[in-house]
Amino acid sequence: MNSILKVEGLTKHFPGNKHSLFGKRDVVQAVDGISFEVAKGEAIGLVGESGCGKSTTGRLTTRLLEPTAGTIQFDGNDITHLSNAQMRPIRADLQIIFQDPYASLNPRHTVGTIVASPFRIGGVEPEGGTKKRVQELLEIVGLNPEHYNRYPHEFSGGQRQRIGIARALALRPKLIVADEPVSALDVSIQAQVINLLKDLQKQFDIAFIFIAHDLAVVRHFAQRVAVMYLGNIVEIADRDTLYSNPKHPYTKALLSAVPEVDPDAVGSRERIRLTGDVPNPINPPSGCRFRTRCWKAQDICASSAPALLQIGTSQVACHFPE
C-alpha cells in the first residue's frame, strides 16, 4: 500500500489525579497501542463512543499532542517526536478541522486573515498573491469571495465550518484530519458539509481521517472504517464489509443501536442492547476491554487481550469474532 500515514503502536497516557501524598498518579489510557495506515487519497473513518480515544488519535497524528509511545510516519518521514519548529514545514501537508466552528476561529480576525494564516505561518507566497488565492479558496468551499473582510460572527455555524475547511485547504495538504466536523451543526446543514468534504477529497485527491461518533455519517464519507473502543482499535474493514458484515461484537452492537428512520424497518432489525456504560479509561478491564459489556465474553477474554488479526477482508481484535 502506498501510504501517506502509518501509525504503529501509538499510545497516549494522560496524567490523572493523585490519591495519596506519595502514591502513584492515575494514568488515563486514552489511546493504547493502536496501528493503522492511511493510503494516499484515501478517506478512512474513525468511529467510537465518547472516551474511545478517537479525538486523541486525531490530535496525535497531527502532532498537536506528544505520543507516549509508538511511531507515526507521515509521507515517509518519522514525525513521532518532532518539535514544533520541525513540524512547521510538514504542517503544510497535514491539516486538521475541528468540531466546534465557534471556538476554532479567532473572533478578532477577518475571514481573509484566518484563511491566509497557513501562508503566513508557512512563509509561503501563493501564485497571484495571497488575497487572490484566499478568494479562490472561499469560492471552492462555497462562500462568497467578497466576504473576505467579514468576521466569523457574521457567519452561521455551517458557514464557519466552511471557513475552517478553506483554511485547512490553503496549502493543498496531503492529509486532513476532520474531528467531528459536522456534529455541532443543524441536521439540515450537516449534509452540505459532508458533500463539500467529499467533493474536495475527490477533486484534490486528499487523504482524510474522518473522526465521528455517527456511524451513518462515516458511511457516507469513508472508504475504510476503523472502530475504536476504550483506546483500542477493535475492527478495521472496508466500508461495505464493516457495515454489512461486522465481525466484532462491539461493531455489531454499535450498528444495531443507530435509530432507524424508516418506521417499517424499526421492528425488523436485529436489536442488540449493551448493558452499562463505557468503563473508565483510568482503570480499563483486563484482557479484552469490551468484555464487561459483551454477551459473548468467556474466561479467556478476561485473561488475554485479543490481537488485531486478519479475518477475511477485515482486521478484528476479538476472541470470538462473528
Binding site: E49, D186, V187, S188, A257, P259, V261, D277
Partner: protein, 341 residues
C-alpha cells in the same frame, strides 16, 4: 371526546431589544395517555419553548403566552402560578438534554428524587428516600441503595439521565416531556434510554412529548410527529404519514439529506440549501421559501402569504402547511423524493 392533552392556538413571544420575537406561532396539537408525540425541528424552531409552556414555566418571565393548554380539561395557561406548581412533577414532568447541568451539583441524587416525591406526597423523609431507591432500581441503576447517596458527578452520563427519569416519574405523572433526552449520550446508551422510556410508558400509561432533532429517535419512539420550522407547525401526522409520505418540502429535504445505514453511500446527500432563519428576521410568507426548491411551481404566494396548516386530503389527520396543491406534492414526492429515500 376530549384528549388528555390539548393545545389550541398556542403562541409565545418574547420582547427583545430588536423587537418582539415570535418563538411559537399558533400551534395546535393533542395527545392521549400512553401515546408519544415527537416534536421535531432544528435549533430555534420553537420546540423547547413550546414544551416549557406546557409546564407553565414561562409564568413569571417576560414571555407572552396566548392560547389554551388543556391538561385533563384544565387550562394551564389560564391558571395561577401557584396552582400550576402543584401540578408540576405530579401531573406533568420533564427531563432535559444535559442531565449533568439539570441536576443540582451539591445535593445527592437520592435527595433530589426524594425532594420531588416529598413536594406532592405527605410522607416522611425516610419514606421518600425509600421511594428514591425504588425509582432508581426501576430505571436500572445497579445497587440503588448505595448509589442513592452519590452526587450527580459520580454517575456516568447514561446513569444521570436514568436518575432524571426516576425523578420525573417519582410521582407517576400522566405526561412526561422529554427535551432531547438522548442527544448528549452515546449511541449504545441512547438505545438503552429509548428502551427504558418505552417500557416505562407501557407500565405507567404515560403520555410522552419527545422533543428532538433526530428523525431516527422519533421514528423509534413516537406515534405522531409534529414538524416545526421557524416557530410554526409545518406538518403534523402519524409517524408513518410524516416519515414515509412526507408532504412538506422541508420534510422531504430532511429525509433525503440525512445519512443512513442503507442506500448507496457513494451518492451525494440531497442537502437543503441555506440555513435555518433567525427568529428575529423570519422570511415573509412561508418561512421556508428561501430554501425551497419548488417555489417556482407556486409563484409569488410563497413569499407573500403564509400558507395554512391544512389536511392533506379532505378529512385526513395528516396536516401540512404548504402552497403546493395536493396533486403537485404527490407528483413531486413520487418522481423526485421517493427515489432518494
Amino acid at each position: 371526546m376530549s384528549k388528555f392533552l390539548e393545545v389550541n392556538n398556542l403562541s409565545i413571544s418574547f420582547p427583545t431589544e430588536d423587537g418582539v420575537v415570535k418563538a411559537v406561532d399558533n400551534m395546535s396539537f393533542s395527545l392521549e395517555k400512553g401515546k408519544t408525540l415527537g416534536i421535531v425541528g432544528e435549533s430555534g424552531s420553537g420546540k423547547s419553548v413550546t414544551s416549557l409552556a406546557i409546564l407553565g414555566l414561562h409564568k413569571g418571565s417576560t414571555a407572552e403566552v396566548s392560547g389554551e393548554i388543556l391538561i385533563d380539561g384544565q387550562d394551564i395557561n389560564a391558571m395561577a402560578e401557584n396552582d400550576v406548581r402543584l401540578l408540576r412533577g405530579k401531573v406533568m414532568s420533564m427531563i432535559f438534554q444535559d442531565a449533568l447541568a439539570a441536576l443540582h451539583p451539591y445535593y445527592t441524587v437520592g435527595n433530589q428524587i426524594a425532594e420531588a416525591y416529598l413536594v406532592h406526597n405527605k410522607v416522611s423523609k425516610s419514606e421518600a428516600k425509600k421511594r428514591a431507591i425504588e425509582m432508581l432500581d426501576r430505571v436500572g441503576i445497579p445497587e440503588p441503595q448505595k448509589r442513592v447517596d452519590d452526587y450527580p458527578h459520580q454517575f456516568s452520563g447514561g446513569m444521570r439521565q436514568r436518575a432524571m427519569i426516576a425523578m420525573a416519574l417519582s410521582c407517576n405523572p400522566s405526561l412526561l416531556i422529554a427535551d432531547e433526552p438522548t442527544t448528549a449520550l452515546d449511541v449504545t446508551v441512547q438505545a438503552q434510554i429509548i428502551d427504558l422510556l418505552r417500557d416505562l410508558q407501557k407500565e405507567f400509561n404515560t403520555a410522552i412529548i419527545l422533543i428532538t432533532h433526530d428523525l431516527g429517535v422519533v421514528s423509534e419512539t413516537a406515534d405522531d410527529i409534529l414538524l416545526m420550522y421557524a416557530g410554526k407547525a409545518i406538518e403534523y401526522g402519524t409517524v408513518r404519514d410524516v416519515l414515509q409520505k412526507p408532504q412538506h418540502p422541508y420534510g422531504w429535504g430532511l429525509l433525503t439529506s440525512i445519512p443512513r445505514l442503507t442506500g448507496d453511500p457513494e451518492k451525494s446527500l440531497a442537502a437543503i440549501p441555506g440555513t435555518p432563519p433567525s427568529l428575529i428576521s423570519v422570511p415573509s410568507g412561508c418561512a421556508f421559501h428561501p430554501r425551497c426548491s419548488y417555489v417556482k411551481q407556486v409563484g409569488t404566494a410563497c413569499s407573500s402569504s403564509i400558507p395554512d396548516l391544512l389536511p392533506v386530503s379532505a378529512g385526513a389527520h395528516h396536516l401540512v402547511r404548504c402552497h403546493l396543491d395536493t396533486a403537485a406534492r404527490e407528483e413531486i414526492f413520487r418522481s423526485q423524493v421517493a427515489p432518494k429515500l
